[in-house]
Symmetry: C2
Amino acid sequence: MISKKTKYALKALIYLSREYDKGPILIADLAREERIPKKFLELILLALKNAGVLQSKKGKGGGYYLARPPREISMGKVIRILEGPLAPVPCVSETAYARCEECDDEWSCGIRLVMKDVRDAMAQILDNATLADVLERIEKEKQKKDGALFYAI
Amino acid sequence: MISKKTKYALKALIYLSREYDKGPILIADLAREERIPKKFLELILLALKNAGVLQSKKGKGGGYYLARPPREISMGKVIRILEGPLAPVPCVSETAYARCEECDDEWSCGIRLVMKDVRDAMAQILDNATLADVLERIEKEKQKKDGALFYAI
DNA sequence: GTTTTAGCCTATCGATTTAGTAGTTTTTTA
DNA sequence: TAAAAAACTACTAAATCGATAGGCTAAAAC
């Protein structure tokens, strides 16, 4: 399960994607609209900024905005920033490989063999799902729902 | 990342699969062979027993053994026992669905749409990887390694 | 039938992570 | 220089992780 922190981050980024090219958005507005504790959101946005996903402006007219267009930011990237590597075990991580202490023969470790498949499948999905993709999918779902509602009436 | 507890559980089950139909195995032997803290392993095996994956026998000649053949126990099952649902968010879990508190419109939640794909991909892999499969894959890897070694000499 | 064997059960513990909160400082702009 | 707004530092309560300790219970052997 992903943490609340990561969910908040994704919600905030989806919101900022929708408002992309409308200038900086206030933390306070984001917090209110997405119902995220303001001070907590501050820490999250800061982490995303330090990781190069967001940029910010201080003082009046300031706020946060995406460092790149929504098409160029993936869910995989965001999740790695907040949660660490996608891989279920460190020995199959592409972005942060580490040996499993308890494993002496890595190349014939059964857990590793299966978890490699899992990590590849997850990366395939999450690294290809950009914020722009997510916005599109949300729109499609809303249309589907409206369509169903139309026929229901 | 999966916990040490889950890794220990999988290691123990792979060991018990290899010794399947050789009668009950002592916790102490398992702990020594797989280098798992004995008392900790006790709790893990007990959890697996309560979940129906293992059976046990007390007293002399006792120990633990698989409740079903290795072909009928999947990694997905084991991971769910020790870690809870595979799903990254509760609202896409097939085995333990729950609403996300922070989500008002579940059907057009972008996070949910992507995480559904992730959970399906994980379940596809982990529910189809049985302990017997894992043993086979380990053997294949070992043969590959031996083959490479042969040509290297 | 009591002794040994081996799993069962409950409690506790220190370290780390999670989900925040509070208060102050720095930067920008009007 | 006053305001707005992000940045930084520190703290906390609760939960989870990775164990350890010690006694209890059931089964088998003698």
